[in-house]
């Protein structure tokens, strides 16, 4: 259906306005000054490393969002991005830490390992779905939990972990395996992986819109029956889509691993995969939309620190994230209906001319 520019831009704006309003009410109730709060959120962008950090985290969410979106394209709900990215991160960190290779090659090997590991972890639900008809929703929920146990084992000192102080993590990756970033002095360092993420996003767009595979993927997503009749092998598509989704999920933790942390600690953050679902939905599975969603998500995340700093409950940011996801889709729906009504009115005006020749019919 045709959507005007207004129809594309208005909803997110409405949604943000609505969530800001909602949070304002919450803040007033708890006796905080909303202006301080929103001032701090905007102000943070011009202070310290927040702007750069937002982009860096945005890259992480972007990759997770793309991974989820690939599944969505063919109606696969890969909740398992969470487990896949964490599993891949650990494997990549372990292998990256155990080997030393020339710069560049080392990095590349780590990236490939992460992709393979992510795909491997997605292979299990894919096989279960294709050969046993197990819903990917339930199998990936289970595998997310199991991934935690696997990671715990892999990172333990019995396996590949090393203990530093009270923390355990993988052996740090040598500098040859790092991915250089763009330093902005006191304003932080932009991860080199941000560009890789952008490239992956571009690849996603090309794949979906310009290749046979993308066409078959979307076709299976829209109508499995029509796709089958059109010669698309449903099983193959499920396998490929899941593996691809898992592969991209495998990249999720790499911006941080290669650009800053260089090791995977047992305290390394979880939850990017779940955020990826929200981001993919916010971006309506469109690579550009996901990018905006990812950056917005990251921005709200960062705001927690700034809000805490001015004494505002940082839970506000979670409320805001939820409110935005919900209201953005509602706003899209409202705008869609408005445009529909406008179209109906337009048709109504043209009515006279359209029916004049028909009225000449007469009776027998």
């Amino acid at each position: 259906m045709r959507t005007t520019l207004r129809g594309k831009l208005l909803p997110p704006v409405l949604a943000i306005v609505f969530s800001v309003l909602l949070c304002t009410i919450a803040l007033v109730i708890s006796g905080d000054n909303p202006l301080d709060a929103f001032g701090a959120m905007i102000g943070q962008l011009f202070r310290g490393t927040t702007a750069v950090d937002t982009l860096n985290s945005g890259a992480v969410y972007y990759l997770a969002g793309l991974a989820v979106a690939i599944g969505f394209q063919m109606n696969l709900f890969n909740i398992g991005v969470e487990g896949q990215y964490r599993f891949a991160a650990v494997i990549a960190a372990i292998i990256g830490g155990e080997i030393v290779l020339p710069p560049g090659i080392h990095t590349l090997v780590i990236i490939i390992v992460a992709v393979v590991a992510g795909s491997f972890y997605a292979l299990i639900p894919a096989l279960l779905k294709v050969y046993r008809g197990v819903s990917e929703v339930i199998s990936t929920i289970m595998l997310n939990a199991i991934a935690i146990g696997l990671i715990a084992y892999l990172v333990s000192t019995d396996a590949f972990g090393v203990q530093v102080g009270n923390n355990i993590g993988t052996r740090p990756i040598e500098e040859s395996g790092w991915m250089p970033g763009i330093p902005f002095g006191d304003n932080g360092t932009l991860f080199g992986f941000v560009f890789v993420a952008a490239l992956v996003g571009f690849g996603y767009w090309v794949l979906l819109n310009r290749t046979r595979f993308g066409f078959e993927l979307k076709a299976s997503g829209e109508s499995p029956t029509a796709a089958t009749a059109g010669g698309v092998d449903a099983r193959k598509m499920i396998m490929t889509a899941m593996l691809l989704s898992g592969g991209v999920a495998g990249l999720t933790a790499l911006p941080e691993l290669l650009g800053r942390d260089h090791e995977y600690l047992q305290t390394s953050p979880a939850g990017y995969g779940f955020a990826g679902i929200a981001v993919a939905l916010l971006g309506r599975n469109h690579p550009g939309g996901i990018a905006l969603g990812a950056v917005l998500w990251a921005f709200l995340d960062k705001s927690a620190v700034s809000l805490d700093n001015v004494g505002v409950p940082q839970e506000i940011t979670t409320i805001m994230q939820g409110a935005i996801v919900l209201s953005v889709v509602i706003a899209y729906e409202i705008v869609r209906r408005m445009e529909l009504a406008a179209e109906q009115r337009r048709v109504g005006r043209q009515l006279g001319r359209d029916t004049s020749d028909v009225a000449a019919g007469g009776s027998v």
Binding site: I148, N167, I168, A304, V305, Q314
Partner: protein
């Protein structure tokens, strides 16, 4: 018939009677009796010029755990040393490294000095930010891996305190069978387990020990699930343990309740849990708590910064420095206090060394 349960465990084993089922090892003697040296005693220090920043780990002030303990230290410093300007910030769950750095950086930029980061999760961020602000002093609770001149590690000998409650557990056990419930299987909690087990072994060669964790490393829900804490503790009790030591964060509440409803006893952790509001329903089974004095460490650190005596801070807050210990509220271990203190003196004197790694 069908009857209402009367809220079981109304009569926990009384503290007084020492069951003879467990053959105790002889209590060591010969301690010099030198009092534990607390650095807090000393000349009065004025810290009113200091702006102290505190960065908590997840949970923050009020978590009834180590964050809260740090907060208590800060409050005491305010009261005793005239500290005026302070700021407390709290970490969110699952935040990435840069959020921690931003938090510390914000404090540093606003002129807070010293800045105390609560929790070893801050180690890397402190390292990064301390390099950026060489003139600001930082401290990290539970970590001493950062080797920078302006960073002080505040670490504890949890195994030593746990050793003592291990001894207490044996003395209070009727079955000669005790248990440990850890929240998440991480090195920090393993220290508690290690000390406890050594204490138990020291007190009696016959004692049997159950040691379980709710979740493996990386799955931090183990600190957040009283329902599961309850089940794990109940499992240990059903295998015969009758004194359970918990180091399970918020899940500990479930451990206490399991002990209460199954007529067992429990030992708290970190702060004096007998007096803790959130577990007050089951306080009568809490015979003691292993104290980890983050408050002391924070207080001493602020004091040392104010008085410019950082070098005098202990490397580790151990029994000697009064950094760990055991609680006596409720009076349930008054009868064995002498025994515990004898062991304590042995440790302080170095006659007993407690390892921080579990044996298996």
């Amino acid at each position: 018939g069908c009857a209402k349960d009367t809220g079981g465990g109304s009569t926990p084993p009384a503290g007084g009677n020492q069951a003879e089922s467990c053959k105790k090892n002889p209590v060591p003697t010969g301690g010099s009796g030198s009092a534990a040296g607390s650095t807090s005693a000393g000349p009065k220090v004025d810290a009113s010029a200091l702006k102290v920043g505190l960065a908590y780990d997840i949970g923050g002030r009020g978590d009834a755990s180590f964050n809260d303990s740090a907060a208590a230290g800060l409050d005491k410093a305010k009261a005793d040393m005239g500290l005026k300007e302070t700021k407390e910030l709290t970490a969110a769950p699952n935040e990435p490294e840069d959020a921690k750095q931003s938090r510390l950086r914000q404090l540093a930029q606003e002129g807070f000095n010293p800045i105390i980061a609560v929790g070893f999760a801050y180690a890397k961020s402190v390292e990064a930010v301390a390099t950026q602000f060489p003139n600001t002093k930082f401290a990290v609770v539970d970590d001493d891996t950062v080797k920078l001149p302006n960073v002080t590690g505040l670490v504890f000998a949890e195994e030593q305190g746990s050793f003592l409650v291990g001894v207490a557990a044996v003395y209070k056990s009727k079955n000669c069978h005790v248990g440990f419930v850890g929240g998440v299987n991480v090195p920090l909690i393993q220290k508690f387990q290690a000390g406890f087990e050594q204490g138990v072994k020291a007190a009696s060669n016959d004692a049997k020990i159950e040691a379980e964790y709710i979740t493996p490393a990386g799955d931090f829900t183990g600190f957040q699930d009283p329902a599961k804490g309850n089940v794990v503790a109940a499992g240990e009790i059903s295998r015969g343990a009758d004194v359970i030591y918990q180091a399970a964060g918020a899940s500990g509440k479930g451990v206490f309740e399991a002990a209460k409803s199954k007529n067992a006893l429990a030992i708290g952790v970190d702060s004096d849990q007998y007096n803790q509001k959130t577990v007050e329903n089951s306080r009568d089974v809490i015979i003691t708590s292993m104290l980890k004095r983050v408050d002391v460490a924070v207080y001493d650190y602020v004091r040392a910064v104010a008085g410019n005596t950082l070098a005098s801070l202990p490397k580790r807050f151990d029994l000697k420095a009064d950094g760990v210990g055991y609680a006596t509220s409720g009076g349930k271990i008054d009868d064995i206090k002498a025994t515990l203190d004898a062991y304590k003196q042995q440790i302080i004197d170095g006659k007993i060394t407690v390892s921080d790694k579990p044996s298996n």
